[in-house]
């Protein structure tokens, strides 16, 4: 592989769910790429398809009620067409995932140590003693103060922050090339969130693990990632370097999300909000999905929009991107400075 080859290239990823007699489409043609060691963020409001995208990459969606189309090339293999057995060998070893609520990923009846040891033995075939030493090292490497004690604890005996650290230790013990982190700090207090973000940044710098960081919090994405994707109603509407997206977003939805943040408005002043709501999966407009809420909509917006590259590395799904001057995350004063 040459240096410019992405680690993961996702093309046209769509996820469908069976709902009663109908089929609903949760995501449509999601495409993006992650370079080795890159930290990519996905933002967007509840239900826009962030989690489903992460789960689809790892084959973790319910097989009976869902269908995935498109491709996801990772080290020469298409993750979407791998068998469950082949996926199991990739999962945990090459790509790991951590979640908002560690309790859902940790098994309550086994100690942290036996869960992390299991991963180590599956992927490296070492004996129990070696697995234990490696597990304790892994727990220490995520900043757990007494790794031996935590090794022998059950998940419910740990605080939320410690559980999240333990889950990160399990996810990283095999030194995967990609870590998918789905809202890993959303359930945590802000001072604990700062610890976990610090830890993830440090680990990714130390090991070169690429990060796909899913969050609805633009501040968290800005602090952790170098690129960010904005999703809306199951589609990627913008894909850009974080700094570019924050300073000069090119999609009205990204701009709207940034402008609604309280820090940009004087205290007590009305906040710019995005009126209306996300269209239902059963009733997706054929044209721009954001049109009903967009201040800049014109009659032609009812045509289907494509994701096009408007500057090197900056992609936008809005045909009006050229004429719109959209404000970003800076106050008027900051923009002048």
């Amino acid at each position: 592989m040459n240096a410019a080859d992405p680690l993961l290239t996702v093309r046209g990823l769509s996820v469908f769910f069976r709902a009663g007699l109908d089929v609903v489409q949760a995501t449509s043609g999601v495409s993006f790429a992650i370079q080795p060691g890159e930290r990519l963020g996905i933002v967007g409001e509840s239900g826009c398809g962030k989690t489903v995208t992460g789960l689809a990459l790892l084959g973790l969606l319910p097989r009976a009620s869902s269908r995935v189309t498109g491709s996801a090339m990772f080290e020469g293999q298409d993750l979407i067409s791998l068998s469950p057995g082949q996926l199991r060998r990739v999962r945990g070893r090459k790509i790991s995932m951590i979640f908002q609520e560690p309790m859902s990923a940790l098994d309550p009846v086994f100690t942290i140590g036996s869960q992390i040891g299991e991963t180590i033995r599956t992927h490296f075939g070492v004996d129990r003693g070696a697995a234990r030493r490696r597990a304790i090292d892994a727990l220490a490497s995520v900043g757990i103060p007494s790794p031996e004690r935590v090794h022998d604890s059950y998940p419910h005996q740990l605080s939320g922050g410690m559980r999240q650290r333990a889950m990160i230790a399990i996810a990283l013990v095999c030194e995967p090339r990609l870590l998918i982190a789905d809202e890993p700090t959303t359930a945590l207090d802000v001072t604990i969130q700062a610890q976990i973000i610090d830890l993830l940044m440090d680990l990714s710098a130390r090991t070169g693990t690429a990060l796909l960081f899913i969050s609805h919090d633009l501040g968290v994405i800005a602090e952790t990632c170098t690129r960010m994707i904005t999703m809306y109603a199951g589609e990627v509407v913008e894909d850009a370097p974080v700094d570019a997206a924050l300073v000069r977003p090119r999609h009205p939805y990204t701009s709207g999300l940034l402008r609604s943040l309280p820090r940009l408005s004087p205290r007590g002043a009305a906040l710019p909000s995005i009126a209306g709501r996300v269209p239902s999966l059963r009733d997706m407009p054929a044209g721009c999905r954001f049109a009903a809420r967009c201040h800049h909509a014109l009659p032609d917006c009812d045509k289907a929009q494509t994701l096009s590259e408007v500057e090197a590395g900056h992609f936008v799904r809005c045909w009006r991107h050229d004429v719109l001057e959209l404000p970003g995350a800076l106050t008027d004063l900051e923009r002048v400075a």
Partner: protein, 326 residues
């Protein structure tokens, strides 16, 4: 001041732990008062006692020690009918938009319900008030016949607000009311709270763990940690010149959506976690995580002092250069 709509005097609230052997000191000596028409913000991490304090303010939680006064009188000392009226004037709205909505009731019935319980106005009048409140919170009449599952989270939170407004409250405790909502929706709900405050002269006790939200809405902010206030002041002073090391750490931990070149300052990362409220540290309860802690911090409880006019803190060194005791 005696015209305070709420005054809380050395409030303490304790719960037995599950095994019954220890007590959780959820609120451990808090005093403040709220003036009519203001928005008093309370920020703090999970388990710091914010909700317990909020529930005590609306008489849903009995103090273990200390008092909560409504307009200078203890509502629990009032005769039954007066207590009920007083409790209507002090309302609370919760984080979960579903919590107060019955999934089998139409939106209109949910909004009308508090008036049904009072039962004085005729039914048409109750219906009229309920529809008026729905309109006021930005839900057109077509929503009246719908059920909660047909509404988005933001719309359900509007229903909860309408429901509370029917009984004409004077003060509303807003307990994490926007935490479950998407940012784009959150802005609309915060604007609604501000509009209603202007229109009805409402007073808010605004509880949140979101610094950006609390600083946008509040006229004063209290920072809570392990059942106690650490700092209290107007937002400008508290955000620009935080006096307490805990406030400083909270401010510095807040992720800010700014490009990398514009982010300033080294972040203060607190080590460790919040100690258990059953057995808070001696002296200053923040000392186990404080970068500036000295011997005195373990030995003596810092007093609550007014460092600048209207700006209070509980730290031995607040207002002085670190290391020299004031």
């Amino acid at each position: 001041m005696t015209d305070a709509i709420v005054s809380v005097e050395d409030l303490r609230i304790q719960f037995p732990t599950q095994n019954g052997r220890e007590t959780v000191k959820a609120v451990d000596g808090v005093s403040f008062s709220v003036q009519p028409g203001e928005t008093f913000g309370i920020i703090g991490e999970s388990g710091s006692g914010k909700s317990t304090l909020g529930r005590a303010v609306v008489c849903l939680q009995k103090p273990t020690e200390g008092r909560v006064l409504h307009h200078g009188t203890d509502p629990n000392s009032l005769p039954g009918a007066d207590l009920r009226r007083r409790r209507r004037e002090y309302q609370i709205i919760f984080q979960d938009p579903n919590a107060a909505l019955n999934p089998r009731m139409t939106i209109l019935r949910s909004v009308r319900e508090p008036l049904d319980i009072i039962g004085t106005a005729p039914r048409v009048e109750r219906e009229r008030i309920a529809l008026g409140m729905l309109d006021l919170v930005g839900l057109p009449a077509e929503f009246a016949a719908r059920y909660p599952h047909e509404l988005s989270g933001g719309q359900k939170q509007r229903v909860n607000i309408a429901r509370v407004l029917t009984v004409r409250p004077k003060l509303i405790v807003c307990d994490e009311v926007v935490a479950a909502l998407d940012v784009s929706i959150r802005a609309g709900i915060l604007n609604l709270f501000a509009d209603l405050q202007r229109e009805f002269g409402l007073t808010y006790l605004f509880i949140t763990h979101d610094l950006a939200v609390v600083s946008h809405v509040s006229s004063r902010i209290a920072v809570m940690y392990l059942g106690c206030f650490m700092e209290l002041g107007p937002p400008e002073a508290l955000l620009r010149r935080p006096l307490h090391p805990y406030t400083q750490a909270l401010l510095s931990a807040e992720p800010i959506p700014l490009p990398s070149s514009m982010r300033t300052g080294q972040r203060i990362i607190l080590t460790g976690e919040i100690p258990s409220p059953t057995n808070p540290p001696s002296g200053c309860r923040f000392r186990t995580r404080c970068r500036s802690a000295q011997d005195v911090c373990a030995a003596e409880i810092p007093t609550w002092r007014e460092i600048e006019p209207g700006h209070f803190a509980a730290c031995h060194f607040a207002g002085s250069a670190t290391g020299t005791r004031s």
